[in-house]
Amino acid sequence: MSLSRREFIKIGAGATAAVGLGSGLVTQWWGLDNNPIPNPNTEGDRIVPTFCELCFWKCGVLAHVKKGPDGQERVVKITGNPDHPLSRGKLCPRGTGGTGLLYDPDRLKQPLVRTKSKRGEDIFEAVSWETALDEVAAKLMKVKEEHGPEALALFSHGFGGSWFKHLLKAMGSKNIAAPSYAQCRGPREVGYWLTFGSGIGSPEAVDAEHARCIVLMGSHLGENMHNTHVQDFSRAIDRGADIIVVDPRYSTAASKARHWLPIKPGTDIALLLAWMHVIITEKRYDADYIQKHAIGFDELKKHVEAKTPEWAYPITGIRPEKIRETARLMAGAAPATLIHPGRRSTWYGDDTQRERGKAILAALLGSWGREGGYLIPSKMSVQPYPDQPYAQTPKAALDRVKEGLYPLADETLASGLCDISVPGEAAMNLKGWIVYGTNLIQSLPDYRKTVKAIQALDFIVTVDVLPAEICGWSDVVLPESTYLERTDDLWNPGYREPFVAMRQQAVEPLYQSKPGWWMAKELANRMGLAAYFPWKDSLEYVRERATRSGLDFDTLQAKGVVKGAVVPTTEEQGLTLSFDTESGKIELYNQTLKNLGFDPIPDYYPVEEPPAGSFRLITGRAPMHTFGRTTNNRFLSECYDENEVWVNADVAKGLGFKNGDRVILVNQDEVRSEPISLRATQRVRGDAVYIVHGYGHTAEGLKFAYKRGASDSLLTTNYKVDPIMGGTGMNVNFVRIEGVA
């Protein structure tokens, strides 16, 4: 039978079937009783448990590896690891989409060195690893010799950055920062730390699952897909929890809410104060909890005395009766009321105070260390290795252009390291940058300043998987293997239950890419720092660490995770609350802030308004993307490949635009976006427009994402720095909308 299926059918069922009737072959083909169950065979030949790197939640995943007809092993499927406490067998779209990163045709394939071109021209010569590493080691040593090790900085975002952090510390520099602090969760960390003596950290240990009321202020769970939080949020909805969402936009979370408060952007502190006013004047706070654990209640009571819902109404646009109703709702469910800590809190430059306002509200409701509120997690201990002490490490990072700036920052500021690299701004400039896994052109505000800093450097090397914009500005680009191609360090976060997870290699590295541990070790060897990397490879390293820590390494490899004993995380479970503040209590009134000249209790100050004809640019997430990191991922882009600008439908009509029109956003500094579609919707206020962050790449090497969508990063030329901790408030850019001719 040489006919193909299609030829066979073309001949015509009648004739052929008549001829072949009873021949066996044809009845088997056509027989109604023989419809096999199709099996796509994607289970794989072996399954490797590891953890995800598509975002920074680090869910446990199972990589299904299958040998292809060409003999090459491929990851054909990624599923959730049921044993892992953060994924519990479930994944968000990005977890599945790791294959889209692994098999991205635009990946960096070999080491690149800039030889003939100017910095920023994005023209490179492909070289051998030997040549590239010799060059990097020589240039880093030169900076170190000429300016001292403190002139070196590492920007690092991603779990694989640990090897380079170790390398930089071994070289004698403490200038290590991630944009995830000053550009993201930093104000929240400081706001909560000033109140409870402890930041929130990541992953945020909160008990949404058992909350009877959840308050989301600007957090858009469901579009922000931190897996465990979304799982818990959904379980809370299923249990009938009341959701209150404060957001200028009708987010997915808002659509699940009993109350959506479409607040005027920049006025959240006024709403928080009015909520406190209602809860205190109506005596709905947790009096025993406050009595036992807090100081400064009388000052707080006096402070919010005049902050009535009627006072807040013209500021926030939220009706007084709505403010009262929501305050009573959250008090009624307390202490199982979760004022969700959210994540990116760098909005207006007053962010530490707003986050402190959230913390104080949570304290009044008695939900810190309580079931349905904030958990107090503990970690499993993992012993350090190697034992080689760091030599000559300076006391502090050089991330402030002047002494005394941002006095309460508790991590290094990525924006600060950038500032101090710009000539003329500080007594001493940084001269060499190592950039690991963070596209600084998009992740720091005002790319013009970032470029200015880069142009003044002696040397910049970037380690990345994809040719993001920052690669084009580098002297040397080192192609890293993706997380599925490498074994990294152990991870022991604090969460509901303590655990240690292991990232292990699923397939061989593609192209000439190499894992970060190998690069760091090779560089160390070339710089006389071999003693800091005494192991053969990362597998040997993690085995040694696990053994020293008394962890069962076989289980760790087989399951991807080892769990520790469950310990109490709430008062209900028997935990005794303690607070690592100055006073040892929850500080509703904070003397440290007062001493430094800041408000000891948050107060409301108006933020700058958009000029007539302009709109405040607000940004957020699409559930299948992690910033600009995944917008080139063709697999994940199948459901969302370009951002659109949400404009209030009535406003759009007034401007003469209709749904789907192509428009350009132009900001206050006349920076123009790529054209994008306008989404005319009732789901956003009239004074703000919204786009998903991470689009509008300008790096040509990202062939799929190049010029696709509008870049909020490029439009973020303005930012307002939080004087308390140096966070860069970025919701202070205004755009007007122009039609595309």
Partner: protein, 178 residues
């Protein structure tokens, strides 16, 4: 008799598309081919709005119009009432696509029509379909309607629910909990 069905909780779903991607990967679907998808409908005028988010797919109807429209017998009822397309018998004539009230089918680049199988290669072994298994909001559930203890039966007994386009008489077996 076994009657496989799915429930989809519109209250819990956040429309993240995890089901869509998991399906694509599990079933090795081509670029542009989808067996499930998300719909979001929003009603009202600012600020009085409501939304419904659904994860949709083939309804594996009791009286599947696609099966009756198929001239070659490719579309057929398989185990548990699951409607499948036998790719080897399909000519790509698209009669089923025209007949389907739910627009659940697409033409595979290799020439046949393709759609959701309820992951029968998994579900026939007692595993959940890939979309159900991955769903971070646990919005999806799968099981046997004829089994009183099955999760789908219990959800349908307990919760308000609806099907899409019941007026067509197709008898859909994907239920939306509201």
């Amino acid at each position: 008799m076994t009657r496989y069905a799915m429930t989809m909780d519109t209250r819990r779903c956040v429309g993240c598309n995890a089901c869509v991607y998991a399906c694509k990967q599990e079933n090795d679907l081509p670029v542009g081919g989808f067996r499930d998808w998300i719909t979001t409908t929003t009603r009202g005028v600012f600020p009085d709005l409501s939304s419904e988010i659904r994860s949709e797919r083939c309804n594996h109807c009791d009286n599947a119009p696609c099966v009756y429209a198929c001239p070659t017998g490719a579309s057929h009822f398989n185990e548990g009432g699951v409607v499948l397309v036998n790719h080897d018998k399909c000519t790509g004539c698209k009669a089923c696509i025209a007949a389907c009230p739910y627009d659940a089918r697409y033409v595979h680049p290799d020439g046949f029509v393709d759609k959701c199988t309820f992951c029968l290669h998994r579900s026939s072994k007692g595993l959940d379909p890939a979309c159900v298994s991955i769903c971070p909001t646990e919005s999806l559930a799968f099981g046997d309607l004829s089994d009183k203890r099955s999760v789908v039966r219990r959800l349908l007994d307990a919760r308000n629910h609806k099907t899409l386009r019941p007026e067509t008489g197709a008898g859909p077996n994907v239920y939306f909990l509201t």
